[in-house]
């Protein structure tokens, strides 16, 4: 375990998780079936990175996180978090990681929020000064001051979520696993949570693995994204690369001086829609918009224009539809 800049905090090599499920067939016969929830996943996450981990329901996201926290033992492959084998040393690892489940809480239901934090302090043996600093920071950035004396059961979902995120960070974890941290939150709460995560990642260098169905979370927070489907990684790379990988298309919207027939003869682009003087042209996401704009401006009375990125949801839907081993 060296502290070099290129240190890989999370290492997964061909990790598998096979569940054996017994299913009834006929009246008495029960047949064992193997379900490969995670089917040979390999990736590395360097210290300080914030990575999005996405996939459809049942793709194996939660199983991966459970293995990374040590509450599930992999059926095969090698797994290390901060140099620790999670399943072997779950309790030792627990002191160095933070986990937030959007749909579960670690807070004490009937007690004021601050009581839960006191308990966290003792559980993780956070030194006093450190605890005060961290709590003050979380309280400020997550707007928790008015909530500290409120019993957790009286908090709204957004408030409780902020409370849970703070609870996961008071002991300065090196890695933070977030499973759907913005689920069910309103726009303002979502923004607040994202802003906070960005700060934590930037200032503390906390490594973050973010699982979500809300792709805006990923777009706003992560440069790198991993897509899992049927237990396999189907994409691992930069978010903008995902658009090209998913054969996404960008859209050039032009406003002409007057109503004209659909624009023709622009290489690499085709007109898909006309509404009055406004026209929509689509072109491959990998291609530059500049020559298209030049070509249009040369032959048409161009008044205004905008370029729209492909909708990331569509891109990912295409990836999922691509199925096993699609893009990589």
């Amino acid at each position: 375990m060296s502290g070099t800049a290129a240190e890989q905090l999370i290492e997964m090599d061909g990790v598998e998780k096979v569940f054996s499920v017994r299913r009834k067939e006929g009246r008495l016969r029960r047949v064992r079936h193997e379900v490969r929830a995670v089917d040979g996943i390999t990736f590395r996450v360097p210290r300080g990175e914030m990575v999005g981990y996405i996939g459809p329901n049942g793709a194996g996201k939660s199983t991966t996180i459970k293995m990374l926290t040590g509450i599930l033992v992999p059926s095969g492959g090698r797994l290390r978090v901060a140099g620790i084998d999670p399943a072997r040393e779950r309790t030792r690892l627990a002191r160095r990681i933070g986990v937030v489940f959007g749909q579960r809480t670690t807070l004490w239901w009937d007690l004021p929020l601050k009581d839960s934090y006191e308990l966290v302090r003792r559980m993780y043996r956070v030194p006093d000064a450190r605890y005060r600093d961290n709590l003050a920071r979380c309280v400020e950035l997550l707007d928790l001051a008015p909530l500290l004396d409120v019993p957790v059961r009286q908090l709204s979902l957004g408030q409780r979520m902020r409370g849970d995120i703070a609870a996961a960070l008071l002991h300065d974890p090196e890695v933070l696993y977030l499973d759907e941290p913005t689920i069910g939150l309103d726009v303002v709460s979502k923004a607040k949570v994202r802003e906070f995560l960005r700060e934590v990642n930037a200032e503390r260098g906390t490594t973050v693995l973010l699982t979500t169905h809300d792709l805006t979370d990923i777009e706003q927070l992560c440069r790198r994204v991993m897509v899992i489907d049927h237990g396999r990684l189907v994409y691992d790379g930069r978010l903008d690369g995902l658009r090209a990988a998913g054969e996404g298309e960008r859209t050039l919207v032009v406003d002409l001086a007057r109503e004209l027939p659909p624009i023709e003869g622009v290489p690499g682009a085709r007109t898909v829609k006309v509404a009055g003087p406004r026209q929509w042209l689509v072109f491959p996401a990998g291609q530059s918009a500049a020559p298209l704009v030049a070509a249009v401006a040369e032959r048409y009375p161009l008044v205004d224009l905008s370029v729209r990125e492909p909708d990331i949801e569509d891109v990912i839907a295409k990836l999922y539809a691509g199925g096993r081993g699609g893009v990589m």
Binding site: T69, V73, D110, M123
Partner: protein
């Protein structure tokens, strides 16, 4: 290391105590229920002891003491309910237990601490008041020396630990059962009878009477009541405490084994 673990579990117990302290309405309702039932059972026992004086070796004052001790310990020893552990059962059922496994804390000690906090509050809330009312209305055989009261409190502490250890096993069964409610019900009924809540175990004659006094449930009411009403003194007192401590250790150890198996099941098969 050792010291900070104690600090943690003390904090858990204190938190649980404060948590139960917030349930004021429930506490008041419980006190009223225990007091009312105390009167009903007391008059039943008076009728019984009138017909059969010295039943089970108790005189009438001792029988009355047994009744009010039973009411005082009903909530403390969680003789009818799961106490804190209904919540553990629910966390296992919903899968929230996964969150608890991420923590660097021992599951059994955590819940034991929480249950002791609960019992502490309920001893003050639902224990003291019914006992005081009973003592005002009926002649009770209460000890004069402070030492006996202290030994009684020690016996109550052991009663709570045995009760916890049993309920912990019941709650852990939810890892294997789809719904633990049925088992909880059976466990509650067994507890009501075998703890002596229905009738003091000493009343039952012959081998059956001896047998029921060897079961762990006897630790939960029969032994502490006998300590308080003076039916256990000297060697019998020490044997009673050793009996409780023995069951506490055995059941806690069994709980650890089952906990390990349950954790392994979750860890290997998923939640």
């Amino acid at each position: 290391m050792r010291g900070s673990a104690e600090v943690l579990y003390t904090a858990v117990a204190a938190g649980s105590f404060r948590r139960y302290a917030t349930y004021r309405t429930a506490t008041v309702a419980g006190v009223v229920t225990n007091t009312v039932f105390g009167f009903i059972v007391a008059y039943t026992y008076i009728a019984l002891w009138h017909e059969r004086p010295h039943l089970g070796g108790y005189d009438q004052a001792q029988a009355m003491t047994f009744v009010w001790t039973g009411q005082a310990l009903l909530a403390v020893s969680a003789l009818m309910s799961g106490g804190n552990l209904d919540e553990l059962q629910e966390r296992i059922r919903t899968g929230d237990i996964a969150v608890d496994l991420y923590r660097p804390a021992d599951l059994q000690l955590w819940w034991l601490a929480a249950d002791l906090g609960r019992a502490g509050l309920q001893l003050i809330g639902r224990g003291v008041v019914p006992m005081a009312v009973g003592a005002l209305v009926f002649p009770l055989a209460l000890p004069g020396e402070a030492l006996t009261w202290c030994v009684f409190l020690l016996s109550v502490l052991l009663a709570v630990v045995v009760s916890f250890a049993l309920r912990y096993l019941v709650a852990l069964a939810s890892f294997w059962l789809l719904d633990g409610a049925g088992l909880s019900l059976i466990s509650g009924l067994a507890c009501m009878f075998f703890s002596g809540m229905v009738l003091p175990l000493r009343v039952f004659p012959g081998d059956f009477g001896h047998f029921v006094q060897l079961l762990p449930w006897a630790s939960m009411l029969q032994v502490p009541a006998d300590v308080l009403l003076g039916a256990r003194t000297g060697g019998a007192l020490l044997r009673g405490l050793a009996f409780q401590a023995g069951w506490a250790v055995a059941l806690l150890a069994l709980g650890r084994l089952v906990q390990r198996a349950a954790t392994r099941k979750v860890v290997v098969q998923g939640g």
